[in-house]
């Protein structure tokens, strides 16, 4: 056993010696990796030109309001877009990290909502409350597109892709342009 452990030590040392220069050298020339949060945040507002909301029946808010329900997965990345003009109105990001679906407190008024992973146990109730309202719903959890979220991000071959549920958009009066549908996976 001693000899086996001894020979093992040599192999281990050799492996460490081989790996160390790699670990040191490669990052130096590395390009900056992009995180999925950065891609998703950017895509969110890229979608807007392809989305047609129904004509508002009441007076519109001064801002284009983007709501994040549940724990915010984006952080400072998405704050970058705050104040930028979206559909002619400055973007306002509102976070509701501790939202619970109860009849007493409704979701704040908004144009677009991102439903975070932390809302998993309340998803169906939350969607039921949004049913028929002209609010674009977005999420990034497997299977949530089929459960009724309009645009759902998923990962495929290490890129961020998205699926669209036309049934849900139709029910809310929102229309999504053909160019965007073409780039998405359609949830049937």
């Amino acid at each position: 056993m001693k000899t086996r452990a001894g020979s093992f030590k040599r192999v281990y040392l050799a492996a460490v010696l081989i790996l160390l220069p790699w670990g040191g050298a490669i990052p130096r020339v590395a390009a900056q990796p992009v995180t999925d949060a950065e891609i998703k945040a950017t895509l969110l507002f890229k979608f807007v030109p392809f989305v047609r909301w129904p004509k508002p029946k009441t007076v519109q808010a001064d801002h284009f309001i983007f709501l994040i329900v549940g724990q915010d997965p984006f952080g400072p990345v998405i704050d970058h877009f705050e104040g930028q003009s979206i559909r002619g109105r400055p973007l306002k990001i509102v976070r509701v990290p501790d939202f619970r679906v109860t009849s007493e407190e409704p979701l704040p008024a908004c144009d677009m909502v991102f439903i975070s992973a932390s809302m998993a146990d309340q998803l169906d109730a939350l969607l039921a409350g949004l049913d028929g309202k002209p609010i674009l719903t977005v999420s990034d959890q497997a299977g949530w597109g089929a459960r009724g979220v309009m645009i759902n991000f998923f990962e495929s071959e290490e890129s961020v892709r998205f699926e669209i549920n036309p049934q849900s958009t139709r029910a809310s009066g929102i229309r999504i342009g053909a160019q965007l549908l073409k780039l998405s996976r359609i949830v049937k």
Binding site: V34, E38, T42, G143, F162
Partner: protein, 641 residues
């Protein structure tokens, strides 16, 4: 590790570039969706608002552990004791009581309990799974019997497999190493229709523990071979209903040189499971699950299980209700039990277990919730068992996402078939005490009090910790009966355990993550005086699980698809577990140890990953048995398209 990261840090100048988001915003949607992202880092915290101590082993943790065995993934979970007793035998428990026949845990795969009724524990080798098949593992510390079912005395481990929708395409993995002689798995995931996906997995493993000294005169070269096929089908009827059908078959062979003849185990088994879920327009969610399960060990035992469960969830105003019923029947035939050391009388048995449960979560004053649950369980041996729990949860709003909770609960352990009917067989060699089963055993139960805290600390730390005090009554002791050196199991021991466990996450940069977990466990056992003398085993039980465990993990995404992950752990000293014969524990102490696992992976932009895994690199150690953990390496190549 400190050395290594300080060496690497200067090279990793990946600070946030302010113009970066602007540059990204200039790209088109087509370009954005074709960009490669660094490994999808989801700090998925399932149940952040639950009033219980929950820890999730995420898919990222699973992939980056480099492990080939399920139990290994539980080593860094706070409050969990893991000890490898031989090449494919594991002892796993939560908050103490760890031994070969650890029996206070509910372990499930996709909601299907996998602990066996023979000793209320898990034959881990029967549940080999490729890491490609596992989505995540949720571990709940503390009693959870109300919602989950029997045996959840000290905790629950729920293994969740990947849906076939998430595992589409072809995947092949092959590897080899010192102890992991050869292992591999293959998966084919395909679409059967617009709303139907399926996957088929195949896996095999051959492990060998070389020349390990098991006893003073016994040098072992233990070997095991395992093969398994599994399938899973997921179908969605519409947005609100879904069907899951899955099953598997496995065969597992193990040989250990022993005296007078080699010791061999030849296991095989299968299961089929179907689950239908439906959410109606009023958000009432119903699920029905049916499964059949069968396992056998050549020349020793076989069993068949049928299980049917119904569950419904609905919201009525501020009440969130969950209720359901379950029924299970188990048939078995045990000719020689548990690795040959025991006989069972009667040889054949049939058990029927039914349960009814209801749980209500009441939300009040915006940030508070109160959960109350009751469960009634009916079985063939003891009266109906009442298992209540009460939980209070408070989540004040604020950037810290603070969660405070407290709970009190009672959970029951129903005597297992081993405890009721098992009798130790005489063995060659020095005479060992004989231990008889006792069909008149009563339940043992725990009353548990817990206090928990979850909070963000600053913007990059996440703390999750729990304190507990468990009071056990009616635990099993060994009382002298009949001829000398013969004992019978009786309800004759009390115990108190207390401590804290938790985890701390720190993600300073998108490419760098640290995770620590800690476990402090103190135990105080008392063998109560009886009409006849009882084995004085209190100090042995107290020392069974390490009183301190520290784990530190680091995950570094270097660049160009290269990642480096380290896992350092410290475990306090333990007394050796009583293996087949709890009345005769050799009084041996295994000293505390610390060790290091390293995982280096290199991944091409698509379709290929190579991994080098080093285990126990700091030297040899033992945990709970004579099994000697030696430094070892394995390599693994994975292809997918």
């Amino acid at each position: 590790m400190v050395l290594l990261s300080s060496f690497l840090l200067p090279w990793l100048m990946l600070s946030l570039d302010p113009d970066r988001m602007d540059r990204l915003a200039q790209l088109s949607i087509e370009e954005l969706i074709s960009l490669k992202v660094v490994s999808a880092e989801k700090t998925e915290r399932a149940y952040p608002e639950s009033a219980a101590a929950v820890f999730v082993v995420s898919r990222e943790d699973i992939e980056r552990s480099g492990t080939t065995q399920l139990a290994e993934l539980l080593r860094f979970v706070p409050g969990v004791q893991v000890a490898r007793l031989s090449v494919n035998v594991w002892a796993v428990s939560i908050r103490g009581f760890n031994e070969l026949h650890a029996n206070k845990l509910l372990v499930m795969i996709d909601g299907r309990p996998i602990y066996n009724h023979l000793f209320s524990g898990v034959f881990w080798p029967m549940f080999e799974m490729s890491t490609d098949e596992i989505e995540r593992i949720e571990v709940i510390r503390g009693p959870g019997s109300t919602l989950w079912g029997a045996n959840a005395v000290n905790g629950i481990i729920n293994i969740i497999s990947r849906t076939s929708e998430d595992a589409q395409g072809v995947f092949v993995g092959l590897g080899t190493g010192h102890q992991e002689k050869a292992f591999g798995d293959a998966r084919y995931g395909f679409r059967l229709g617009p709303q139907t996906t399926a996957r088929v997995n195949y896996g095999f493993a051959e492990r060998e523990m070389e020349d390990v000294r098991l006893g003073p005169n016994l040098l072992s070269d233990e070997r095991m071979q395992d093969g398994r096929v599994s399938m899973r089908l997921d179908h969605r009827f519409n947005n609100r209903a879904s069907l899951l059908v899955q099953g598997n078959y496995f065969r597992n062979f193990m040989r250990r040189p022993s005296l007078p003849a080699d010791f061999q185990l030849d296991d095989n088994g299968w299961f089929v499971q179907a689950r239908f879920e439906h959410t109606d327009a009023r958000s009432v969610k119903r699920s029905v699950q049916l499964y059949a399960d069968s396992a056998s060990r050549e020349g020793e035992f076989r069993w068949h299980v049928w299980d049917l469960d119904f569950k419904e969830q609905r919201q009525l105003g501020r009440h969130h209700l969950v209720y359901g019923v379950g029924f299970r029947t188990i048939d078995d035939n045990v000719t020689r039990g548990l690795a040959g050391g025991l006989t069972f009388a009667p040889q054949m048995s049939n058990e029927k277990i039914g349960n009814l449960f209801v749980q209500d979560r009441i939300d009040f004053r915006e940030n508070w919730s109160l959960t109350m649950g009751y469960k009634l369980e009916f079985n063939d041996f003891t009266d109906s068992e009442f298992q209540p729990n009460v939980r209070l949860h408070w989540a004040p709003p604020g950037p810290a996402a603070l969660n405070l909770w407290a709970a009190a609960s009672r959970a029951v352990h129903v005597p297992s078939r081993l405890e009721r009917d098992g009798d130790t067989l005489p063995r060659p060699g020095p005479p060992l005490p004989r231990v008889l089963g006792n069909p008149d055993l009563d339940i043992s139960y725990v009353t548990a009090y817990e206090l928990g805290l979850r909070s963000r600390l600053g913007s990059k730390f996440w703390l999750d910790t729990a304190f507990f005090f468990n009071d056990y009554a009616n635990e099993i002791a060994f009382e002298a009966t009949g001829p000398p050196n013969q004992f019978i199991r009786v309800n004759g021991m009390e115990a108190e355990t207390y401590g804290m466990d938790g985890s701390l996450e720190y993600r300073p940069k998108p490419w760098l993550r640290f995770a620590a977990s800690f476990t402090v466990l103190e135990a105080d056992f008392t063998v109560l005086p009886g009409p006849r003398p009882r084995r004085p085993l209190a100090s042995f039980y107290e020392g069974q699980s390490p009183s301190r465990q520290w784990n530190l993990r680091s995950y570094v995404n270097l660049a160009r698809g290269l990642t480096l992950d380290l896992h350092w752990r410290y475990l306090g000293a333990v007394r050796q577990a009583a293996l087949a014969n709890p009345a005769a524990p050799p009084r041996q102490t295994f000293p505390s140890y610390e060790n290091l696992d390293v995982h280096v992976a290199w991944q091409l932009p698509r379709g290929f990953r190579a991994e080098l895994v080093g285990r126990d690199l700091l030297g040899e150690h033992r945990e709970l048995s004579f099994f000697e953990h030696e430094p070892q390496l394995h390599i693994d190549f994975k292809f997918w398209f």
